[in-house]
């Protein structure tokens, strides 16, 4: 990460930000990404096959040459063979070079295409949390291991082509070629060679398949356990050290590591067995070929040719076992990617309505959201709807007028964040409807909705790139003044000025190098810069001290211009400026109204207010706002 020009920042110059979602093509699946490059793949395959056949031809011609020379014919009788040997030798090396280069090129092309497709599939998949295991990815993969897996799953396409498909094609071609040579030269030996290639290329891989699967499954389980233990030891290092439990957990991790070591030993032994079997099959085939050939009355030339041809042919089929083993290893990855790509894209309305510009009204009618599983705090998250279902929102009716500034308060887990996600179209309600500017969300193109309703999720991502690029993501082409204005409102400007390279300071993956508070301000500045028709903010002031947080909240609620605002907060002090306050509890809106009106009648909001006032020292409690 050094210069801005080469930095893979998500922001480049300035294409329109309201770009539509790219639909997933019908030819989904992993092969769909390979198909556009089929021509190059065939080229690589042909080069590989030709290289193998040249190797075969080289050996056969050379053996013929030597054996024939020993019979002392005229030099002229050998000249054709001499030319053939030279030609094969040169061609083999060059063809191998072409194959390697073309193979890697096509594999990386397929990878590029697949990355694009996987990204598209994840980006425009229906954000329904219940439907797909990859839903975690949809909202941006927070879990590092799931993220790594997704990335390496996609990388598996390289292995599929380079270590499975191309070697297998070359091996089969060489086996067919070798047997053909022997049939032509000394038919009696052909049976032995055919049998040898079948054993080496078919039976051996088949025999290894179940054994290998058991061994690698054991290793995979051990690997997962070790990963969990490793995470405990590293992430919990401080807790373990202070509580004197480091030794115990290190021992548990060590045991997990030893289990993995044992599983890996078993895998290695199996690989050794396969290698040894390959050598045995190769030798046995040559012995049988010579035996049969000599027995059938073949001459020195014929026997020499078939013996050496057999040696090379069986050798060439041995990589099939390795290809099969590799295929088994990457098969789960391929299946996962395939399933992801085959997930049908969400239904897009036939004639999407155009979204009006300017601040938009938002309406929720009887909205219910239920997630599977998870026991939650009875007091905070509403349990209901049967075993294993957590209801995040239940029967929520909300009407937010055009340009209103609405605050959402409530306990953690009450459903505030889910409410925002529903409005943003990121979570589909299991019942009820969400309307934007008077029409249901489904009537609009999903991309339009996302462009219109934007904001700050608590766990938004800071991309590897400059601070400037991270802000410009929200509004490509924003002027310096607009940048500074957004940064000032978000209290980011001082942070930026304190950074070594100011706006051009590169923040690493996951925003490393920024403190929690700095990171949050950056995310808020980004949200403010976007200035969408509907802005949703989730606890934007959480990491700030209370005075600054209240000032910021008041600023957000009173600033002139801008769109409709939905703001989740846990501080009530500045909410006097809100057009409406929604109190959410247990997935329902239990109270709504203006701050002052809510304070006048007993209820949860006044309770929260009292608590906040009691928690503050006398004389410096929150004022009643505007």
């Amino acid at each position: 990460m050094t210069s801005q020009t080469t930095s893979p920042s998500p922001v480049t110059s300035a294409p329109p930000s309201l770009s539509p979602d790219r639909p997933v093509k019908a030819s989904a699946g992993m092969w769909g990404a390979v198909r556009p490059h089929a021509g190059r793949l065939v080229l690589a395959g042909v080069a590989g096959v030709a290289a193998e056949l040249c190797g075969l031809g080289l050996v056969a011609a050379a053996a013929w040459l030597i054996a024939r020379a020993a019979q002392q014919p005229t030099m002229a009788a050998l000249s054709l063979a001499i030319v053939a040997v030279r030609g094969f030798a040169l061609a083999k090396g060059s063809l191998r070079y072409v194959e390697r280069l073309a193979g890697h090129d096509v594999a990386l092309r397929a990878l590029a295409e697949l990355r694009g497709r996987v990204f598209d599939a994840l980006a425009c998949a229906s954000p329904d949390p219940q439907r797909h295991a990859a839903s975690a990815v949809r909202e941006g993969v927070r879990d590092g291991d799931a993220l790594s897996r997704m990335v390496s799953d996609v990388d598996a396409v390289q292995d599929l082509l380079l270590r499975c498909l191309l070697p297998a094609v070359a091996a089969v071609a060489c086996a067919v070629g070798g047997v053909t040579v022997v049939v032509l030269v000394l038919p009696a030996s052909a049976v032995a060679l055919a049998a040898g290639t079948v054993v080496a290329g078919v039976l051996l891989p088949l025999a290894v398949w179940p054994l290998g699967r058991r061994a690698s499954e054991r290793a995979a389980v051990a690997r997962r356990q070790l990963a969990v233990r490793g995470l405990d030891v590293w992430e919990g290092a401080a807790d373990l050290a202070v509580f004197g439990a480091a030794g115990r957990f290190a021992d548990a991790a060590g045991r997990a590591a030893r289990r993995l070591e044992r599983a890996e030993r078993a895998c290695a032994r199996l690989a050794g067995l396969v290698a040894a079997a390959g050598v045995a099959v190769q030798g046995a085939t040559v012995v049988a070929v010579v035996w049969l050939g000599a027995g059938a009355g073949g001459g020195q030339v014929e026997v020499a040719v078939v013996a050496l041809t057999a040696l090379v042919t069986v050798e060439a089929t041995l990589p099939l076992a390795g290809a099969v083993q590799r295929l088994r290893e990457i098969a789960p990855a391929c299946r996962r990617v395939d399933a992801l790509l085959r997930t049908p894209p969400p239904v897009v309305p036939q004639d999407p309505l155009p979204l009006p510009t300017g601040p938009l009204p938002v309406e929720l009618l009887g909205v219910r959201v239920a997630y599977p599983g998870g026991a939650r705090d009875g007091g905070a998250g509403g349990m209901g709807g049967g075993v294993g279902v957590r209801v995040a929102l239940d029967g929520v009716d909300v009407r937010v007028e055009r340009g209103w500034r609405v605050a959402v308060v409530g306990a953690s887990g009450a459903g505030k964040s889910t409410l925002l996600a529903v409005v943003a179209g990121l979570v589909a309600p299991s019942a009820g409807s969400v309307a934007l500017a008077g029409h249901a969300l489904e009537r609009y193109a999903p991309g339009d909705v996302r462009a219109a309703v934007r904001g700050l999720a608590q766990d938004a991502h800071v991309f590897a790139g400059t601070v400037r690029a991270n802000l410009l993501l929200a509004r490509p082409g924003a002027s310096e003044a607009e940048l500074e204005a957004a940064a000032r409102r978000a209290r980011l400007l001082d942070v930026v000025r304190g950074l070594p390279q100011g706006w051009d300071t590169v923040v690493g993956e996951g925003g490393r190098g920024l403190s929690g508070g700095q990171r949050q301000r950056l995310l808020l500045a980004r949200a403010l810069l976007a200035d969408p028709p509907v802005l949703v903010l989730d606890e934007p002031a959480e990491a700030l001290d209370t005075a600054t947080a209240d000032a910021l909240t008041r600023d957000l609620l009173t600033a002139p211009g801008g769109g409709t605002l939905l703001l989740v907060t846990h501080r009530l002090a500045a909410l006097g400026a809100a057009d409406q306050v929604l109190v959410v509890d247990g997935g329902r809106v239990v109270q709504r109204g203006r701050h002052d009106d809510l304070l006048r009648r007993p209820g949860p909001y006044r309770d929260l207010w009292e608590a906040e006032r009691l928690a503050s020292p006398a004389g410096s409690g929150p004022s009643c706002g505007a």
Partner: protein
């Protein structure tokens, strides 16, 4: 004549190897490519001598069997004689056996070395939070986990492919050359002269390749990492309607990655092409006179065949060595990352010797007198940081006194707690606990002093880690022998009992990775129960209410008040509710104690009234 029998026996190696190299470059993780040689030497050094010797002997035996088999085959073919065939079958069987044993030895050695590296990696846990800018603290936990599992698996080809090939390259050419000398000294002479060309050319080409790919490594890494970054931020991209744009960028970046990789491979593969041609040329140098002598009747067919079968076998192990090495490049890179973690300067302490034992100097238990803490001019300067995190802080906390620490982020509050927990060593000044210098305890050999000290600590961090274990075990982290009633009492005191009982298996519920399934407030309550159960006389709380809403905060503050009763405590806090638990508020700014009036009410007012 003959480029002839050029590599009669097999060429299979180049293929897998080149692809391995592609892998190394495209999927390569971790360390920079430059330091490969040192890493390689270190990996080799980690093999026990016994293994190296066994592999060498096995390689030599395989070489001998190869020579014998070639002789038998030449005799059978030249004489059209089935006589040597049964013996040939036996030799082949023996060779297969050797291959098996050799693979097993190498595989076991690989597993053992990986096991050692894993153990070392696990032992390098750092208790200093990632947010603290310790230079060389290296990879995040997620990256380390990847390294620990999949990353180290890439080391296999080094031990199962490269090392045996290295030994074969040393031993087999000698054995085969010996047989050639006996069969036909003239050919042997040519071979002996040309063989050194292979390593020489290999080194020349290799150096050029290394320089080229080394230059490209960084950009390859970066281009390859883009996809990961974008996936991680997918939710954000979607929220800003940038997915359509990114869809193109993802493809474009992957395409740039491809072009850069293929450019590197074009050179890398050229090297194996050059080596292949060098070998072909050398074999031709041997083959031409042999062919002429056969034609002239000066040589028996059996000898000619033997020479031509064996000659490529001299070059093959040397040529395959480079390919094998490339195949293990990814593993060497992974090992390099591991070594980098292992070599990083150790953050002070967080050693595994901190096991709690019967304390000698300080007695344990609820009845113990709360200690007095005195900081004298304590300074902490993290390596690589511009200014000290703590700059001459002096502070006295009386026995049973509860002091709140406030101040803007980066003021050094958390560092102060880390110092007291023995997780960070002060670079200046000293900490006295009831008059005993903490540095002396920390420095005590075997960590006994530190363990004793920590046995007197309770700790509630801002984001406590919940372990992949039952709730009960998580609460009993510091007191593994705690009885269920004791655990339940601690949970009750921390206001955690109600939600724990609601969990599917109550206290036996196993928490997921990082304690998933519990809300932030619930995690904090487990952490408070954890601290409560230890009964330690000194409590360190680091903003335990930072992420909580008011109600959760109220519950937690009440629990914290119960926890702190009759104990000395340092509490990092911003929020008024928690500040009220303290007797006194100390404000830190830029690593120093900010001057100002002391006393809870005044200080709290000052804190909540502050504006930046």
């Amino acid at each position: 004549m003959t480029r002839a029998v050029v590599e009669v026996a097999g060429d299979g190696d180049g293929r897998g190897a080149s692809q391995g190299q592609g892998q190394g470059e495209t999927a390569g993780e971790g360390a920079a490519g430059g330091s490969g040689r040192g890493v390689e030497r270190r990996l080799l050094g980690s093999l026990p001598r016994r293994v190296t010797v066994s592999l060498g002997v096995l390689a030599a035996a395989q070489g001998v069997l190869l020579v014998v088999a070639a002789g038998l085959l030449a005799r059978a073919v030249a004489g059209l004689d089935a006589g040597p065939l049964p013996l040939l079958a036996v030799v082949v069987g023996a060779r297969a056996g050797l291959v098996w044993v050799s693979a097993r030895v190498a595989g076991d050695a690989a597993a053992a070395v990986k096991g050692d590296l894993r153990a070392a990696l696990l032992a390098r846990s750092s208790a200093v939070p990632v947010s603290v800018p310790v230079a060389g603290s290296g990879l995040g936990s997620g990256e380390r986990v990847t390294l620990l599992t999949r990353g180290l698996d890439a080391v296999d080809p080094f031990f199962t492919g490269y090392v045996p090939q290295l030994l074969a390259a040393v031993v087999v050419p000698v054995v085969v050359l010996g047989r050639l000398v006996v069969a036909d000294w003239a050919s042997a002479l040519v071979v002996a002269v040309t063989v050194p060309l292979v390593p020489v050319f290999g080194a020349l080409v290799g150096m050029r390749t290394a320089a080229l790919t080394g230059r490209q490594w960084g950009s390859l890494q970066r281009l390859g990492g883009h996809f990961r970054d974008v996936l991680a931020g997918l939710g954000t991209l979607r929220a800003y309607g940038r997915t359509g744009h990114q869809s193109r960028v993802v493809r474009a970046m992957a395409d740039r990655h491809r072009r850069a990789t293929v450019a590197a491979l074009r050179v890398a593969f050229l090297s194996s092409l050059v080596l292949e041609l060098v070998c072909a040329l050398s074999v031709a140098l041997v083959a031409v006179p042999v062919g002429l002598r056969l034609l002239g009747g000066d040589m028996a067919l059996e000898t000619g065949l033997l020479v031509l079968v064996l000659t490529p076998e001299v070059y093959l192990p040397l040529r395959a060595l480079g390919a094998r090495f490339h195949a293990s490049a990814e593993g060497v890179a992974a090992a390099g990352s591991v070594f980098a973690v292992l070599d990083a300067p150790r953050a002070p302490s967080a050693d595994r010797s901190g096991e709690r034992k019967g304390a000698a100097r300080f007695s344990r238990g609820a009845g113990e007198r709360p200690p007095e803490i005195v900081l004298e001019d304590v300074t902490v300067h993290y390596p690589g940081a511009g200014r000290p995190a703590l700059d001459g802080v002096s502070l006295r906390v009386g026995p049973g006194e509860r002091v709140a620490l406030t101040g803007p982020s980066g003021a050094g509050k958390s560092t102060l707690l880390l110092v007291l927990a023995g997780l960070v060593c002060p670079t200046g000044g000293r900490v006295l606990v009831d008059g005993v210098d903490l540095a002396g305890l920390v420095a005590e050999p075997g960590g006994a002093g530190l363990a004793e000290w920590r046995a007197r600590l309770g700790w509630v961090p801002q984001r406590p880690h919940l372990f992949a274990a039952s709730v009960a075990d998580n609460i009993a982290l510091g007191v593994p022998g705690a009885t269920p009633p004791q655990i339940a009492r601690a949970a009750r005191a921390a206001a955690a009992e109600e939600f724990v009982q609601r969990l599917p298996d109550g206290y036996a519920t196993v928490l997921g990775e990082g304690g998933a399934g519990l809300s932030a407030g619930q995690r904090q309550r487990v952490a408070i129960a954890r601290a409560y159960l230890t009964g330690a006389p000194l409590m360190l709380l680091d903003e335990p209410t930072a992420r909580l809403d008011l109600r959760s905060e109220q519950v937690l503050v009440r629990a914290a008040a119960r926890l702190l009763e009759g104990r000395t405590a340092l509490i990092v806090a911003h929020r008024p509710a928690l500040l009220r638990v303290a007797d006194r508020v100390v404000r830190l700014q830029d690593g120093r104690v900010a001057p100002g009036p002391e006393g809870a009410a005044v200080a709290v007012a000052a804190v909540t009234g502050e504006t930046p």
